[in-house]
């Protein structure tokens, strides 16, 4: 393939893999945290809210560094995960997914939270009177109603994950074939004089992938919204 080198293809595939996993794996947590923030009322709520927004506020390098000292092999959580569960994040694509997920988390949570806040609690009450417990009300009423918000959150997260660079490279470095994602490759090209053309190629790929995801998701979201509205 003349357009992209083998390494570059790997980077494309890896970026997709990382972004999809980052989105998919963080979605349940995103929904949970959004639910807690939208509906909960407990002392530490503002702290949780702040924590969720932190990756947005901090320079990505700092987030990456914090991840490194926490989830690295020497980090308290990283060591635990490795010893107890055999999960290694450092220098692996899994770590890249973690970094992308964390960076995208505030976006995902905010979208889902807004959707939850727009659900009419009267419908949930009605479901309650019909015998559904809180969990079942959530599963049968809230969740379907916030689906467009969940899709929006997932798309934002996916797009962000596709573009995430600073935290990822700080946390898992750039190992071709393992942690080299598109943004890292693009960054590398931009560091050397004359690398712009190569960078542009990768940018185009990245944009194409993300745009496809975007358009598909818009279509799905529209369909879902129409089904909900029932028209």
């Amino acid at each position: 393939m003349p357009f992209l080198s083998a390494d570059e293809w790997t980077a494309v595939a890896l970026s997709l893999q990382v972004s999809l996993w980052a989105t998919a794996a963080s979605l349940p947590f995103g929904i949970l945290v959004a639910l807690v923030l939208a509906r909960g009322d407990f002392p530490g709520k503002q702290i949780l809210n702040g924590l969720v927004h932190l990756p947005l506020i901090l320079p990505p390098v700092v987030t990456g560094y914090i991840l490194l000292v926490t989830f690295g092999r020497r980090g308290p959580v990283g060591a635990f995960l490795e010893e107890q569960l055999g999960i290694v994040l450092a220098f692996r694509w899994t770590g890249a997914a973690l970094a992308a997920a964390i960076m995208a988390f505030p976006l995902m949570v905010r979208a889902i939270r807004l959707a939850i806040e727009a659900v009419d609690p009267k419908l949930e009450q009605a479901a309650g009177t019909l015998g559904a417990s809180r969990v079942l009300v959530f599963a049968t009423v809230t969740l379907p109603l916030i689906l467009p918000g969940i899709i929006a959150g997932a798309v934002l997260a996916f797009a962000k994950a596709m573009g995430e660079f600073g935290a990822t490279i700080t946390f898992v470095s750039n190992i071709p074939g393992q942690t080299q994602t598109l943004p890292t490759a693009i960054y590398a090209f931009l560091q050397v004089p004359g690398g712009e053309a190569s960078a542009l190629r990768l940018v185009l790929i990245s944009v194409a992938v993300a745009m496809t995801a975007l358009i598909v998701s818009e279509g799905v979201a529209r369909l879902v919204a129409r089904r909900i509205r029932g028209t």
Binding site: K122, L123, Q125, A126, A127, G128, T129, L130, G131, A132, S133, R134, L136, V137, T140, V141, P144, L145, R227, I228, R229, G230, T231
Partner: protein, 371 residues
């Protein structure tokens, strides 16, 4: 006892303080807009948590603020027809109807019940639609169906028939009667319609500004001349009981009523059945002598028990008919002309057709020999 409610709750500018005990059957909440009916129903449903409350249904305590008992709404097994629909917009009509069944104990919804309810409510053609495009009345019918099909231990109905036309009401009311008579599910029923209340209710609770003004059987509450101002003069009336003697071929049923035979439009119940008939005070004509050659078929021998002047040109006359009470509303001018006074023996004239089918119903429970 079946439904026991004692609730106090304050909103800024409004306070609710209601207590009543109602036997099995339909308890009607009756009162003007803003009198606290929905608030009370919400308290029973567990959707608001009143300041103090003791609410029990069939010996199950739903809420006892003193004892610290509070059952979550989903554990109360109520079918609540909300005043404003609250259908699930993302579910089809069919799934809305099925919703309550998903959480009810297995087998709690009788087989065939769904089809009966769908047919009664005329929802057959709508099952695949979503609520958004339904008409107002269609939505309300789905809401009724959803509550009925949730296998509830308690039904709460907040003006369930307000958005419906009379023909549709006439189809639904008998179903609710059957529900009342054949099951022991207590129903708390909010309505502005005296006809509905008189027909369905076992007990009437009349509310005013968050306070109970009267609690009693419809016969007591609705036939009480003192209730006339609360009810609105047009709705005063009494209930008498009668036994179906025979069904005539010309479409009439002949009954043994208080103070004489009664002829009414055919009642769909076997001979021998005891029924209750609501007779509106303004439908009763009084005569000194038994009239002849008139189209009205019912002429009852009665004695004037009490006379009560209302505001305006009318007065309410309480009559004794073979031990039962009847109300008649006549003008003062007639009263003077006929020299109506307590103790006077006279005749009450009543048209058969003046009695609407919804004013006749099979007496519930113990008294009946009917199915």
């Amino acid at each position: 006892m079946s439904l026991s409610v004692a609730v106090t709750h304050r909103f800024p500018g409004f306070s609710l303080d209601v207590a009543f005990e109602a036997p099995a059957g339909v308890t009607a909440l009756f009162g003007r807009s803003g009198s606290g009916k929905t608030t009370l129903v919400n308290a029973v449903a567990g959707l608001i948590r009143p300041d103090t409350a003791r609410i029990a249904v069939n010996d199950t305590v739903l809420h006892d603020s003193d004892a610290g008992v509070w059952l979550a709404p989903h554990k109360r097994r109520i079918g609540y027809v909300f005043q404003e629909g609250r259908l699930f917009p993302h579910l089809s009509v069919s799934a809305n109807l099925a919703y309550g069944g998903w959480f009810a104990p297995r087998g709690a919804v009788e087989p065939g019940e769904r089809e009966r309810v769908v047919a009664m409510l005329g929802l057959g053609a709508l099952l695949d639609r979503r609520p958004a495009t339904l008409s107002g009345g269609e939505k309300q019918r789905v809401a009724i169906g959803r509550a009925l099909l949730s296998a509830p231990r308690l039904l709460l109905m907040d003006e369930p028939l307000a958005a419906l036309d009379d023909a549709r009401k006439a189809e639904i009311l008998p179903y609710l009667e059957r529900l009342r008579d054949e099951t022991d599910i207590p129903v708390l029923y909010v309505s502005h319609s005296v006809t509905e209340v008189a027909r369905l209710a076992t007990t009437v609770v009349s509310l005013r500004d968050g306070r109970t003004t009267r609690v009693g059987s419809p016969a007591e509450v609705l036939a009480d001349p003192r209730a006339v101002p609360t009810l609105g003069i047009r709705d005063a009336g009494a209930m008498v009981s009668a036994v179906i003697r025979r069904h005539a071929e010309d479409g009439l049923s002949e009954l043994d009523g208080p103070g004489g035979p009664l002829l009414l439009p055919r009642i769909a119940a076997p001979e021998g059945t005891r029924v209750r008939v609501r007779i509106h005070a303004h439908d009763v004509i009084l005569a000194r002598e038994a009239p002849a050659g008139i189209s009205a078929l019912n002429v009852l021998k009665v004695t004037v028990a009490a006379v009560r002047a209302g505001e305006g040109p009318g007065m309410v006359v309480q009559l004794d008919a073979g031990g039962e009470r009847l109300l008649a509303r006549i003008t003062r001018r007639s009263a003077r002309a006929l020299e109506i006074a307590p103790g006077l023996a006279c005749y009450a004239i009543l048209k058969s057709v003046a009695i609407a089918p919804e004013d006749i119903w099979i007496a519930g429970g113990e008294e009946t020999g009917a199915s």
